[in-house]
Amino acid sequence: MRRILAHSWLGRVYKADKWLFVLLSLFFFFTLFANFIRLQATPFFIWAMYSQKLPEKTDYSYLEVHYNGNKLLNIQHSWNEPAKNYLYLPLGYYIEIKDSNYVDPFRNYLESHWLKKHPAFTGIAPYLYPDRRTIDKFPGWYKRYLSLQVNEPVNNILVLKRHVQFHPDGASQVIATDSLLYIP
């Protein structure tokens, strides 16, 4: 058993450098611990993507962005994801903030749960969510970023939420549309 341990990877690390052994053991320990308590603290990542059930729905939705009147933003390749993330994730987040009367959802979580348990951290809380001035800068930034992506000046933006149903033949059909945001 001792021989097996000595020849194992960690055994060889221990023999080569005790500090390295401590460092690597702690890294793996905290990675496992983060997953066990289900709380990520970079670089101890949790790997829980797509681990929950996804009940099949009758309708699916997505955000549709129109700019300069009737032009449609249509990103067709998955390798465009780094840009697509910035075109849709902050947009969805902004709409969520706007719909919550300009209160960031994380601020809500901090103030209604976390700070009640950890009042000593009240002083740092305002650094952890965007304030109203930052939130109000979003439409201007979005226009700038979209202009860069579509390679032309963007004067106005309309964001719709499309509700879609799939037919048995696999075709999709828009069944309802909500108008979420207009940036003049």
Binding site: W47, P55, S78, D169, G170
Partner: protein, 282 residues
């Protein structure tokens, strides 16, 4: 691991990271291309809390001049690491900048995206100077890679339940591709997707197959005998999710390079040999 193997490995890893970063640059998704984003989300991750409270985000992301300088340094240190693989100063600088890039991108994306986690980790072993110890730490990266996929499987089967949800495949397919199918009804890919929706058992079986492939990575903890096969599993997983989940987790693949054996490194070295890959001085 000897100097020559280390040179080849450094070049393969930094080269693949640089290639992926170049795609990001062309996509206006490196810091200079983000046009000084505004809103952010730290989420319950203490590292992001500390990062947000530091002056770095406003200096590197919100300030256009800072963002341009950052990108220049990011690519410059990356290229220098590739050209001078044994000069650790370059790769240490590159790894710090890469880490800052990943944190910044995720912070202002308002969502912490898993495909960037590899960038934060993958270059850290190269900080180690001694080749023998470096080899040991890089072997640790191999165990980390096996752990990542094994944990993903564990989450889906033990802590989560998606493995037991037969419809999970078709549900995630529809959720992720609803915009593409609706906005591009006449493309070849949509025709394929519609055919798959008519035969949705393929999507559901494929979904389970991908989960099982993740689980198979646990083999790597017990033997290196199958590394030659295991190295392909993350490739199959991420290429499949590229087409059927519309996600670009291919960016996680640099960590998968840790499953390359020393023999394979020598073979790759010989492919590029005849003076082209001469060792650079420390």
């Amino acid at each position: 691991m000897n100097d020559r193997q280390r040179i080849i490995l450094t070049r393969i890893v930094t080269g693949s990271v640089l290639l992926l970063l170049s795609i990001r640059f062309l996509e206006h998704a490196t810091l200079s291309g983000l046009s000084s984003p505004t809103i952010f989300s730290v989420e319950p991750d203490i590292t992001y809390w500390l990062y947000r409270m530091s002056p770095l985000p406003s200096l590197l992301v919100e300030n256009p001049a800072g963002a341009i300088l950052f990108d220049i340094l990011l690519f410059l240190t990356g290229i220098l690491s590739f050209l001078f693989p044994l000069r650790r100063f370059y790769i240490i600088s590159f790894s710090i900048l890469l880490m800052l890039y990943a944190l910044s991108y995720n912070l202002y994306a308002t969502h912490h995206l898993g495909q960037l986690y590899g960038y934060i980790i993958v270059l850290l072993p190269f900080w180690v100077g001694n080749n023998y110890k470096f080899g040991l730490v890089w072997e640790g990266m191999r165990y980390f890679t096996c752990l990542v996929y094994s944990l993903a499987f564990w989450w889906k089967t033990v802590w989560g339940d998606s493995f037991y949800d037969w419809q999970h495949g078709v549900s995630s397919f529809k959720s992720n591709l609803v915009d593409y199918i609706t906005l591009n009804p006449d493309t070849i890919m949509t025709a394929i997707y519609r055919w798959l929706l008519r035969h949705d058992w393929i999507l559901n079986a494929g979904d389970k197959g991908i989960m099982l492939l993740e689980g198979l990575m646990v083999i790597g903890f017990f033997t290196k005998k199958y590394d030659r096969l295991l190295i392909w599993l993350p490739v199959i997983i991420h290429v499949s999710t590229y087409f059927f989940s519309d996600v670009f987790f291919i960016e996680l693949l640099p960590i998968d390079l840790s499953l390359l054996s020393l023999t394979q490194l020598d073979r790759i070295g010989r492919l590029f040999s005849q003076g082209e890959m001469t060792p650079m001085r420390r």
